[in-house]
Amino acid sequence: MSKDSLITVENLYRYYGELCAVHDLSFEVRRGEVLGFLGPNGAGKSTTMRIIGGSLAPSGGRVLINGIDILDQPILAKAELGYMPETPPLYRDLTVDEYLAYCARINRIARAQHWSAIDSAKERCGLTEVGRRLIANLSKGFQQRVGIAQAIIHSPAVVLLDEPTVGLDPIQIREIRTLIREVANEHSVVLSTHILPEVQSVCDRVQIINRGHLVLNETIGEMRAKLQATTLLVALRMVPSIAELESIHGVQSVEPLEDGRLRIAFDADRDPSDAIVEQAVANGWGLHELMPERMTLEQVFVDITCADTALPQDSKPNLNPGPDLNPAQAGEAA
């Protein structure tokens, strides 16, 4: 991964009247990187995407696309940019070919390369078969593809995709994700979503935004390492001394919980479950519950986004994810 950054966002603010939708946001996207922009509904994802896409002016701060300020030189900056908004901007009364030809023209593709650009965009998005069909008659999945084709037709350096898989069935979602990975081979991609598995399967880096604040910015590798740091929840009828438990091989620390259970943290590569069970049987501790606590991205997400005031630096595992997340995912899978 080279170090040059294609998108630089510096101290971005955006107010809607009194409401501050984006608060002091700064980040970078490097060449060839897929950035997952994650946040609950209303967190400011789309606002940020629209500002980067140039269809909304920031209240403060600046955005550089490939080193060009989008406010100072919008035309130059936008030539480096492909943007698919939340609702794909499709003219339903045109055919796919006509629509893409129009997009090619307004994106200033030279006349000689028109058809090659249209053909390659169609091929990459799997639209070759439907070129002559009216956009209005296409399924939602194909319309989404046309939206993506529109964003990549002029081979921009950066592609912004705002919730590209919303409202699709699971098979279509998988296809669109494959497409996004393909697009990422040649372009940097910023993907906004509230669907967590999407980020894990597609992105190189994750950013979580909540109420306009950037609360997490990590690569998927760092994220995985964080998620592997696991703990055990243990319930015993006869609780031994903490020191006795800590002497078990692999145990790092023991923390008594309010409900009488214990949280045992251990080294990632030395799972002490077996040892704990053996000890419990040998000493008659009355073990009746032993549960590994594995962090998921979902927990990190919920922890971060549900924290009202203090934004936690290290996220403690939380076994009761907020109810607001699950319906969204269920709806996605349906």
Binding site: C103, R105, I106, R108
Partner: protein, 256 residues
Amino acid sequence: MICAIAGRELRSLFLSPLAWSILAVVQLIFAYMYLAQIDLFIQLQPRLPMLAGAPGMTEIIAVPLLGNAAMVLLLVVPLITMRLISDERRNQTLSLLFAAPISMTSIVVGKFLGVMTFLLLMLLMILMMPLALLLGGTLDFGMLAAASLGLLLLLASFAALGLFMSSLTAQPTIAAVSTFGVLLLLWILDWAGNNAGSGASAGPGNDVLAYLSILRHYEALLKGVFNSADLIYYLLFITAFLVLTVRRLDAERTQH
């Protein structure tokens, strides 16, 4: 770039039945008006040679036709311009234009030219009727040209206002109604001026109102009087509303 936008605008006009039905209905009405004027001319014809400086076919047939056409098109143009921007806003396709490397001015001018092409087509269809008179007579081409130019400028003003109204809202009907309302008001501003002209108490305010009337300037051109002041009035009117539209779309990005 501008051509691409104008072309798509024209195309989507003709993809909907609206443009076709407007062309058909309007042509039918004009044809009826045209025939009525021909009837009048035939009635007057025996007496015309006896008059010195008698009106010809152009004055009796073509000019009234174009004069009435302006009134009919006042009703029709808002229906054509209403969708220009409001529809794109409602379907959220405006972001395609905003994200493309084109200036706001190109977008607005492109849309304006798209509609103007359609209106020009309509004007040509109207003009074909008086031109058909060439089969059996002659026309005063200078007068016809002035009147056609007047109608073209008038239509361009209607379109510029309609485009601006369409940029204010996401509902095409609201755009159509408000365009129609403002146009009608600009049209009847003349009434105050007319009354003042005949009455004893002609105030300067009434003169200004009459001068602002979009109709007053058209009437001069209809008479064959080509005054650059009228031309400038229309060009200013068109430019003003195009600039306002650009400003309006720019403001869309900065505030909500």
